[in-house]
């Protein structure tokens, strides 16, 4: 895991294009980008652009680094896949190439890669898919990787074409059956967990999906790394806003101690 210190940067929008459904792919040019580990995230300020210093919406939005590509001289293209649903993300979707968006990152603790030789299974649902791309790429250098992606409909499936370019086995599930398995993506997970041998299990997506993945993993005697979401103001451990209750009592901060946590450590019933 990288220990790169975060930066604050006024990043330049290179591209901000609709993918399927409400999904948008944002490519940002960031100077002096220190690189990020899979599962780390950035905070993006939607109000800090469009030629005005609007303070509504006020808070920056946490977004996984989908992919970071160095472009030389320390700069990089940081890519984010997001769903434009709320006030902030809809405003973000209005940013045009050449405009600036304030970025703080890389933040949080990402995924621990599987030991060399160990295979892995990655379960992604909805926008959670965005946290898994770098993990899939790097895990494939360690062992065989299965990626299971789920969404409501084929349109909503994020980043599928990118995953197809990786050396991973891809399984798809949609709730309406428009693509791949009809049903929940966790239904694809169960048989994989039953296979013999060591296996690293990772999940990112809606809370019920992660909780179900963790239950299935536990039933199969396996641990499971989950990447949690929570409302955030700062993203770097100073507002104490993103507390998640722990099974053993007390709280972790999603932004500082996570977003990736061991599923068994989390008090799932206490999540917001």
């Amino acid at each position: 895991m990288t220990t790169a210190l975060p930066i604050r940067s006024e990043a330049t929008v290179l591209e901000n294009c609709a993918e399927g459904g409400e999904n948008v792919r944002l490519r940002l040019e960031v100077e002096a980008w220190p690189g990020s580990a899979p599962g780390q995230f950035v905070m993006l300020s939607p109000g800090a652009f469009r030629g005005t210093d609007s303070v509504d919406p006020l808070l920056p939005r946490p977004m996984a680094v989908y992919r970071g590509t160095p472009t030389g001289h320390g700069a990089a293209v940081v890519e984010v896949l997001y769903k434009a649903t709320g006030r902030g993300t809809r405003l973000l979707a209005a940013a045009r190439p050449g405009e600036q968006v304030r970025l703080v990152g890389p933040l949080g603790r990402g995924f621990v890669l599987p030991d060399p030789g160990v295979g892995s299974v990655l379960v992604g649902g909805g926008t959670g898919v965005a946290s898994l791309f770098e993990l899939a790429r790097l895990a494939a250098e360690r062992g065989s990787v299965r990626v299971l992606l789920g969404a409501r409909s084929a349109d909503d499936l994020m980043g599928r074409e990118d995953f197809e370019t990786l050396d991973v086995a891809l399984g798809l599930a949609t709730e309406d059956g428009g693509e791949g398995h009809r049903g929940l993506v966790t239904e694809l997970l169960e048989p994989v967990l039953a296979e013999p041998g060591e296996l690293a299990v990772y999940a990112c997506g809606p809370t019920p999906m992660m909780q179900r993945a963790a239950e299935l993993a536990a039933a199969a005697g396996r641990s499971c790394s989950v990447s949690l979401e929570n409302h955030m103001a700062c993203g770097f451990g100073v507002c104490l806003g993103c507390a998640v209750p722990l099974a053993g009592g007390g709280f972790d901060l999603v932004c500082r101690d996570g977003p990736v946590l061991e599923a068994s450590a989390v008090a799932w019933e206490g999540l917001p």
């Binding site: 800090a48 304030r102 100073v238 507002c239 104490l240 806003g241 209750p245």
Partner: protein, 310 residues
């Protein structure tokens, strides 16, 4: 940004600051979290997260929510406790940086005990007493909402420490001037205001408050006009130096607080949006003074005209 050498330093409640920009308690962690973003010595000082006698855990989530031009929070008393602050957090900070420790407790004698433990600690330049803590025996009213309770709190903490003593006032009162006078009467060295406005937002899906705690505190740009009014009223009411807080996000915002009578200011919620906000505001204030031809930034303090005292 300018060639004029501007003297930006101020003396706040006996604490010398290189410039009037500090950071607000609860919005700046224990300070070291911001080291990646700027050299902390470039701002006047920092106020750390409020400390209790023992380490405390906070409220269950959700603890924060966004509102129009603002945010709500109900974090609870979560902090590492006064002893861990002194032994583990303070050493991470540059020794030249003035650090004000914020104190937050449920009982007056516990407030006093935390003050004692912080007294004499080399890097602690002063103490800020957070009077927005609910006093459980008075049905949850904040210390800062009742003049008698506030007087007892100020007098007890005053007796507990010779360190510069700053009282951070609650804005949820009919008369901030009255509360300011109480503090002056009990020997406080300075005032800090405002803390958050008590507020509520509702989740229409669940028909519950958006925060698990129920009520929360409103901060951010939305409250700035209320904060400016209260700072001006407090400055009219007492001779104590005042640290202005509430929705400050730019040098212009900060300058307005100085004009209304604040000697120093604290940057709060803006740290979340822009972790370089304090240093940018400090630079902007120097540039502002240069543009106005003010050799000393502190000459701006209390220069508001056209408003009779009330």
């Amino acid at each position: 940004m300018s060639s004029l050498p501007i003297d930006t330093s101020v003396d706040f409640a006996g604490i010398r600051l290189v410039n009037p920009v500090m950071t607000a308690s609860g919005t700046f962690g224990y300070g070291s979290e911001f080291i990646p973003f700027f050299d902390l010595r470039r701002i006047g000082g920092i106020v750390a997260k409020s400390l209790t006698l023992e380490p405390r855990t906070g409220n269950p989530p959700p603890r924060i929510a966004e509102t129009p031009a603002g945010m709500l929070n109900a974090i609870g008393l979560e902090n590492v406790g006064v002893d861990a602050f002194v032994s583990e957090k303070l050493p991470l900070l540059p020794p030249e940086l003035p650090v004000i420790a914020s104190v937050f407790e449920t009982e007056i004698d516990r407030y006093a005990e935390v003050c004692k433990r912080l007294t004499g600690v080399p890097q602690v330049a002063g103490l800020e007493i957070n009077a927005s803590c609910p006093h459980v025996k008075s049905g949850g009213i904040e210390y800062g909402q009742n003049p008698q309770l506030l007087a007892r709190l100020v007098s007890a903490t005053r007796r507990a420490t010779p360190a510069p003593l700053i009282i951070k006032l609650s804005p949820n009162v009919t008369s901030i001037a009255e509360m300011a006078r109480v503090c002056a009467g009990e020997g406080a060295d300075g005032l800090a205001l405002i803390n958050t406005l008590q507020a509520l937002d509702v989740d229409l899906e669940t028909l519950r408050p958006v925060l698990r705690n129920g009520l929360g505190g409103l901060s951010g740009p939305a409250i700035r006009p209320v904060a400016l009014r209260m700072v001006w009223q407090a400055a009219q009411a007492v001779d104590l130096p005042i640290c202005g807080i509430g929705g400050i996000g730019s040098a212009e915002d900060a300058a307005k607080f100085l004009v209304c009578g604040a000697t120093a200011i604290q940057v709060g919620t803006a740290n979340y949006l822009n972790p370089r906000a304090p240093v940018e505001i400090a630079e902007g204030l120097a540039a502002f003074a240069a543009t106005r031809g003010l050799p000393r930034l502190r000459d701006l303090v209390g220069t508001l005209e056209g408003l009779g005292s009330s």
